[in-house]
């Protein structure tokens, strides 16, 4: 039972990381109906930038904040310079998928060219302390990551529901043409959406890097978990991304105890994606979100 609880809590921690990346995917999907396959690699790239700052003596917190700013700028640039070029009415989302896959390969190759292939270790934002609760050890890091996720969710809620920016993001997601007609600068708003997505991606990148070695492949498996989280929760639902992320995290942690899945953690996740797509393609929370808009 204690082991079960322990695993559950570990699952929460990794799930919060997946949820964070999935939130980025959902923001882009909601505002533009696209999936950014380079989301993870962009996060990996900004995490390297944060690592460089830490290596030069900056505090982890400052470096992570800087990485988030880098991420925002990177997201805006990618949208403006590349994605926006494919926004004509006759363009297929397929072309943009291929462009984001090109970005995937680009960043994945650029990182070892700049920083080498050797793994780097990235310090932990919340230290290595832990709290003991009746036999279950909770790392301070776990509490920190879950706390950051909760803060993210609250901030997103406030932004989407109570700011002008959030309103315009929702307007563009709902109807791009009408938004343009009422005078919204659709291009800039989409770019901001990509920026925010890359920003939360950068944050999740530093979290992942504090758990495993920072290499060019840091985010590949994590991206799949985030995809699974978004698919399970519904690609257009931020709530779904969070719930989906937590579920995927717990499933991943528990699955390690099944022989078949030991060292093969992607298999249950892959099967889960397939089943969700076949049985309920809109995900757990997808439909409600659609009707809301």
């Amino acid at each position: 039972m204690e082991l079960f609880l322990q695993r559950l809590i570990d699952g929460l921690a990794v799930g919060a990381i997946y949820a964070s990346l999935a939130l980025g995917l959902v923001i882009i999907y909601r505002s533009s109906g696209l999936i950014n396959f380079a989301q993870g690699e962009m996060a990996m790239f900004t995490t390297y930038l944060a690592w460089m700052l830490v290596d030069n003596g900056l505090s982890v917190w400052l470096a992570t904040s800087a990485a988030m700013v880098f991420g925002f700028v990177l997201g805006v640039l990618v949208e403006r310079l590349l994605i926006a070029q494919f926004s004509g009415p006759k363009e297929s989302p397929l072309a943009i998928v291929i462009v984001t896959i090109g970005l995937f390969l680009f960043f994945n190759g650029l990182a070892p060219w700049i920083w080498g292939t050797e793994g780097k270790s990235f310090p932990n934002l919340f230290g290595t302390g832990s709290v003991d609760l009746g036999g279950v050890t909770i790392k301070v890091q776990t509490l920190g990551i879950v706390g950051v996720l909760l803060a993210e969710v609250v901030l997103f809620y406030l932004m989407f529901q109570h700011t002008k920016l959030g309103l315009s993001l929702r307007a563009v997601a709902s109807n791009r043409e009408s938004s343009r007609l009422v005078g919204l600068r659709v291009g800039s708003i989409l770019a901001v959406g990509w920026g925010i997505a890359a920003m939360v991606g950068a944050l999740s990148g530093t979290f992942v890097a504090s758990r495993i070695d920072l290499t060019q492949n840091l985010m590949q498996v994590v991206l799949i978990y985030a995809f699974a989280a978004a698919t399970l929760g519904g690609f257009d639902s931020p709530v779904g991304a969070v719930v989906g992320g937590i579920i995927i995290g717990v499933v991943e942690q528990m699955a390690q105890y099944v022989d078949l899945f030991d060292g093969f953690t992607l298999l249950p996740v892959f099967l889960l994606i397939l089943v969700v797509l076949l049985v309920r393609p809109q995900g757990l929370f997808g439909r409600a979100e659609v009707s809301r808009v």
């Binding site: 109906g33 696209l34 999936i35 396959f37 590349l82 070029q85 494919f86 004509g88 009415p89 006759k90 363009e91 297929s92 989302p93 397929l94 072309a95 998928v97 291929i98 462009v99 896959i101 090109g102 970005l103 995937f104 390969l105 680009f106 960043f107 994945n108 190759g109 650029l110 070892p112 060219w113 292939t117 590949q220 498996v221 991206l223 799949i224 995809f227 699974a228 698919t231 030991d262 060292g263 093969f264 953690t265 992607l266 298999l267 996740v269 892959f270 994606i273 397939l274 797509l277 076949l278 393609p281």
Partner: protein
Amino acid sequence: MSAASWAVEKRPTLVKVGRWVGWIGIIAVGLYLPQAFPPFRVGQFNTIMAYGLAALGLALLTGFNGQISIGHGAFFGIGAYTTVIIVGDHPEFPWLATTAVGALLAFAVGIVVGLPALRIRGLYLGVVTLALALLFRQALEKYSDLTGGSQGRGVPRGQKFSAPDWTGLANDQWRYYVIFVIVVGCLVLSRNIVKSRMGRAAVAIRDNETAAEVLGVNVARTKVLMFGVSAMLAGIGGSLLVIGSPIPRVSANSFTIVLSITFLVALVVGGATSILGPIIGAAFVVLLPEVVPHEQQVLTPVILGAVLIALMLVAPDGVVGLSRRSASWAWRMLARAADTGPDTGLETGDSSKEQLQLDSRES
């Protein structure tokens, strides 16, 4: 009657004749290549043809059916591992029979992975196939007893696909010719699929799924089947990669997500809506490392990624699309010279109709 107006008038015939001459020329050059190049180069040609089949599979899927796969490296790997494992464990098993087994396995897995297409449209297939590419890598590590994991696995020493005595060919030449025949067979098969009822249904689905369904196309079956065939071609390619290699060996490190994306680059470089384009694109991605300085090899994927993005911006229909466009431009110039005026309805050749780009779908 001037030569120009005669040419314009006879354009359909000329195009047809030109196409036959082109194909015969390509086959003649293909047959001559291993006589003119050293074994090392011939081995490279084998790799190009193997990669070309994977990219051809992508062409059927993406170019002609509007679906996407970021996981063809996995199907390629299924073919490669099938051959290495069967030949390694049962030396008496004929090599080419393992290609058939690999093709069937890849087809079956392709059908399963293509299943979400039954229920949903759009980008989810990208998610599923990307997951598959990484899953395949994990499976190789997990079952390293069978696959050799990152250490890799070869076939027993001294065993390779070698030339029978009666041919009088060197081993590398024999391997090349066998692969060449299979690849030409696959090209013809793909061409026939594209021209068949199923191929037309696939193109209809790509251009407008709803309209195709209304017209009675069985959308789900066509999409899943196209995915299966596409995966099968990649599987054959993977098996041929092993057969064509002087030292047959596979390792988990060669079947990363980068391989899958490399196939996509080959597809876009060559042209997604052509049969021959993927082979041209495969030549590009296989030979690119040759022109990158040795100490900068790590840059190769960066260049591939940049090329992919740049092509999508300026020439999404690839090399073949560019040549089609220049050909139709040349015909227009000729028509103007013949004073029949441009675009007189003589555009009956396939060039204008088939200039279908990835972006021709409504969003």
